[in-house]
């Protein structure tokens, strides 16, 4: 049956899997879009001179880096429902991913900001720049450049982590592949899924390389 028209079978399967892939990509972009700016804000809070801000953000990264993403996903989707907060699967997944990835990015950006020489702050101070001007114009542009490689790592991890949403009943790329597998009992859908993941991560790596090249003019 399958061998009659292998090419057609692959195309049909790929299209079906790609449909699931749309969800993966959506979740991916929502997470990236929110976690990067939030990560920068929280990083600034984590090194703020206000102890309360430092402690809140410290607690936050401690909890969300210290527990499994899968558990956090269960908590948001099933756990919160118990106390009356019911979320759509996509919202639950998006919130969990944003909160989880922001925690990692917060630490990455904190380290990046702290790696900038004190002299840069002092020069900005001597030029009468205030805190926001100093951060926005002097410190963050340099820190962001240094944190491109670890951010790229997180961006790649995120592609693969999106596969976890199957546990709250969402049909993402991987689940779509598994559905075909369950129906036909052939290995092809898994290979197709692997190829799609590889294509996505390749695009991401290419994209980050471009940014890195753009930033390495000095």
């Amino acid at each position: 049956m399958i061998m009659d028209n292998l090419a057609q079978y692959i195309i049909d399967s790929a299209l079906f899997i790609l449909k699931g892939g749309i969800l993966t990509v959506e979740l991916y972009f929502v997470t990236i879009l929110f976690s990067i700016p939030l990560g920068i804000c929280f990083a600034l809070m984590k090194i703020s001179r206000y102890k309360l801000l430092r402690e809140i953000t410290g607690f936050y990264t401690w909890v969300f880096r210290g527990t499994p993403l899968l558990l956090q996903l269960f908590f948001t989707y099933y756990g919160l429902a118990v106390v009356g907060i019911t979320l759509q699967p996509f919202s639950a997944a998006a919130i969990t991913f944003v909160v989880n990835y922001t925690a990692y990015l917060t630490e990455i950006y904190r380290a990046g900001i702290e790696s900038i020489d004190r002299g840069q702050h002092e020069a900005a101070h001597a030029l009468n720049m205030n805190y926001f001007q100093t951060m926005r114009r002097i410190i963050l542009p340099q820190a962001v450049r240094r944190t491109i490689p670890p951010t790229c790592n997180e961006a790649i991890n995120l592609v693969k982590d999106t596969a976890l949403v199957s546990v709250i009943g969402m049909s993402d790329l991987l689940i779509s592949a598994k559905e075909i597998f369950a129906r036909d009992f052939v290995i092809i859908p898994f290979i197709i899924a692997a190829v799609i993941y590889l294509v996505i991560t390749t695009v991401i790596v290419y994209f980050f390389r471009k940014i890195e090249a753009r930033y390495s003019i000095y």
Binding site: D117, G119, Q120, E122, A123, H125, A126, L127, N128, M129, N130, Q133, R137, I138, P141, Q142, R145, I217, Y218
Partner: protein, 252 residues
């Protein structure tokens, strides 16, 4: 006219008292060289003058306005905002240049005038080009700091500080991080500036600069000012044996 006045400045780092009741006056147009052994508090004193270090107690006046006034253990009576406004009059040049590496030479100079003073960008560029011409680096305006020499970096740093149109310039060992053959160009730029009657407070180990350009030399040792006098007096017939031995050691 009095440019800056410091009274009984006390500053400690932990239990170590770095400045032990330092008082001095700087007049407009004066060039003051501050010399003394390392750890004597020279740089700390300079950094107090633009708020990079907070004094423990004492008073600093800039153009007769209180910049800092503190009783031991009390808060500064001058508010942060007022301090910042006054600090605009003070330019600073660092030992390690501290240029912004992600900005070109020109961008380094226009950064603060544009973002802080809201200067029109076109005007800022014109001003920066003039300043670069003055320090002899007009051809480097589009270079990044990593592509120019240490001496050139320091001249850019001087131009950058001048871009904010300061009334007094603080130099914190401006040639100490430079190879010996590059100190000359920086000292020349500073000499030009002194000729234009810029008020300058220069922490330095360059005895020739101190001797030839400075109007006064301040000798600091162990957190106090041991001497504050004309260069030839301090360099040729110092009253204090510590000054004498220091000058012999640095081999004028």
């Amino acid at each position: 006219m009095q440019m800056l006045k410091a009274e009984n400045i006390i500053k400690s780092f932990g239990s170590h008292r770095v400045l032990n009741s330092v008082s001095l006056e700087i007049n407009k147009g004066e060039v003051i060289a501050v010399i003394g052994p390392s750890g004597s508090g020279k740089s700390t004193l300079l950094r107090c003058f633009n708020g990079l270090e907070e004094i423990d107690s004492g008073m600093i006046l800039i153009e007769n306005e209180t910049f800092s006034c503190k009783e031991p253990g009390m808060k500064d009576t001058v508010k942060h905002g007022a301090k910042r406004a006054m600090q605009k009059k003070i330019g600073m040049v660092f030992q390690n240049f501290n240029l912004f590496p992600h900005r070109t030479v020109l961008e380094n100079i226009i950064e603060a005038p544009v973002t802080v003073n809201k200067m029109n960008k076109k005007e800022a560029v014109q001003m920066a080009e003039l300043l670069l011409e003055k320090v002899g680096l007009a051809d480097k305006k589009n270079s990044y700091p990593s592509k120019i020499s240490g001496g050139q970096k320091q001249r850019v740093a001087i131009a950058r500080a001048l871009g904010m149109n300061p009334d007094i310039m603080l130099f914190d060992e401006p040639t100490s991080a430079l190879d010996p053959e590059l100190t000359g160009e920086v000292l020349k730029t500073m000499t030009d500036l002194a000729r234009e009657k810029m008020t300058m407070f220069v922490v330095t180990h360059e005895m020739r600069f101190a001797a030839e350009i400075a109007d006064r030399i301040i000798f600091m040792d162990d957190g106090i000012i041991l001497a504050d006098d004309k260069p030839d007096k301090i360099l040729t017939s110092p009253d204090h044996f510590r000054i004498k031995s220091f000058i012999e050691k640095v081999g004028q």
